[in-house]
Assembly symmetry: C2
Homo-oligomer: 355 residues x 2
Amino acid sequence: DEDSVINDISQRRYNPLTDSWVLVSPHRAKRPWQGQQEVPDKSTRPPYDAKCYLCPRNTRAEGAKNDDYKSTYVFMNDFAALKEEQPAYTPPTNRSPQESHLFQLEPVTGKCYVICFSPRHDLTLAQMPPKDIEPVIRTWQTIYKEAVSLANIAHCQIFENKGAMMGCSNPHPHGQVWMSSLVPEEPAKERAALYKYYNEHGTHMLEDYAAIESKKKQRVVFENDAFIAVVPFWAVWPYEVLVLPRRRVARISDLTPDEVSAFAQIISQVTVRYDNLFSCSFPYSMGIHQACTDASMDDNCDHLHMHFYPPLLRSATVRKFLVGFELMAMPQRDITAEIAAGTLRTLSAVHYLDE
Amino acid sequence: DEDSVINDISQRRYNPLTDSWVLVSPHRAKRPWQGQQEVPDKSTRPPYDAKCYLCPRNTRAEGAKNDDYKSTYVFMNDFAALKEEQPAYTPPTNRSPQESHLFQLEPVTGKCYVICFSPRHDLTLAQMPPKDIEPVIRTWQTIYKEAVSLANIAHCQIFENKGAMMGCSNPHPHGQVWMSSLVPEEPAKERAALYKYYNEHGTHMLEDYAAIESKKKQRVVFENDAFIAVVPFWAVWPYEVLVLPRRRVARISDLTPDEVSAFAQIISQVTVRYDNLFSCSFPYSMGIHQACTDASMDDNCDHLHMHFYPPLLRSATVRKFLVGFELMAMPQRDITAEIAAGTLRTLSAVHYLDE
Ligand SMILES: O=P(O)(O)O[C@H]1O[C@H](CO)[C@@H](O)[C@H](O)[C@H]1O
Ligand SMILES: O=P(O)(O)O[C@H]1O[C@H](CO)[C@@H](O)[C@H](O)[C@H]1O
């Protein structure tokens, strides 16, 4: 049948959200791995670590002291990539058209926050009950609303790097927000695709996509009344997951309290299954895409969603490298989205450490 | 002056080759690193390893036996992502326009080679004299010409993943070639930009760029009569390098014998400096972009060049992670291209192990 051929041939699949393609070569999954072995995070951490710069009451690298916080805790990033104020920049003058095109530089301002998800040093989103994830979502709502209120902020990027493998330098559960005076390219590409789709089809891309996947089932990881989590048809990362509300909610602050609970539940369901997949604290980068915060941009086609990009491929120690061919030509994956989704879907919804 | 402001403000820079932007936040370089420590490759390897599947005379994972080769050695990848023949795929019918747009899948065929750069297990390009790099370039020329001769091959991607950190599973010096029936997106984007630039300016982008950088000098790493190596103004990876011939050569097979020698010299100069930077075998992904091999595509604006994308940032153990913000929003770097180039330029041209 169709599915067996799909698992047997090299193919490219189209990502309608970013208007790009991924190469899928399922038979590559059979090749033996003799390369780098990762160090899985199976550590048991104490609930409080006196040397952690994110734990309550501790002093951070630059000297500020954390509050004795009990739920989520937000502070300005001490090493912010983007700042509200900076020296003025005068662009060079008298350049040829060629030079002007080849050497383009523009100042960027912004604001960067760190959000501790919990005072507990030993937890992660996967180990927090959904009711404790709700305050995290409400904090994202508050910060998003602040971004909207700021005149020079066009975009608000909420994300989490989890695990040393994904560049996280502290295991205390936390995420970040980078607000910027410009709209970065990845959300700009998605926005353009959402608007183009609507103009061509008269329906909304991610509403259509959620409805079709919910009916097809083979790429669904988990769904509830308000949200659906799938391994997207066009996934690049081995166990990539896309979480989205079934109805077109433009921004996180538009979620109703019931939808906040449903969002917390599905984040929990996805992250628990991730940890259960290889019995380790599963590394990933996670990010939320939604309407821009530039008041001059309408929100007629925006649809809030969350991407999980996890690097592990075969076990807690074997990852997928997106390197030479991927960087120079196009992304390539070894297992199909359907196989990855089936694996995640059938995993236990109870965290392996709680069993 | 202008340069000191540039080293002090957050800025975005435009990549005219791919029509994209990178965020540069130079003050981020000051932040302490408490995250993952990499394991530097300082191993001394034997010239021949009986367990290596790339050494002369050894048997590979799938049972084939390597020749007793003395220079470069080419064989078909035993776990090729792309194959010349595969089962036929019949696309689904009777789908709605929405479904047709959201679930696009196309078969891809191709041919994948592994190229051993040397019979010596203990060498890398950085440790091979330029005259031994020349046969590698000539092998790339031969393979490129084969790709041109094959009716179903539209693109020929030459690349090398060096080091465990970049997904390389065997330290024996080797690269790969993935030929494909389609033109991948990264070269397609570059091609479009090269053509657009020519139509707008009446001059060739990379000829202009090489000439301007050669005059400005601050981003030059090394140059000879035929080639120039720069940290491009729009570099993403900390010590990214772009190597290109000054004259517009469309494809590797168009290089004259003198240009092959100059190319070998500059590859040697770049890779030696890389190893000298942190006194380790410097990891990177390298790839060559040039004219496509699809006979129906003209070559009026193509300009052969080579990208080096190395992950290390501060030392042999501290790398730059392109993760959360980079994946969800846009690439971000911590040191300016000018500082990176200045560092590489002033390093010794003699390999640290030979001193
Ligand atoms: O073909 P190799 O060297 O086994 O594999 C390496 O390079 C490939 C092409 O960039 C990547 O897809 C793999 O993830 C990487 O491990
Ligand atoms: O801000 P952090 O957690 O120190 O840093 C991490 O996330 C950033 C945003 O994705 C990246 O630029 C860094 O390379 C990574 O190490």
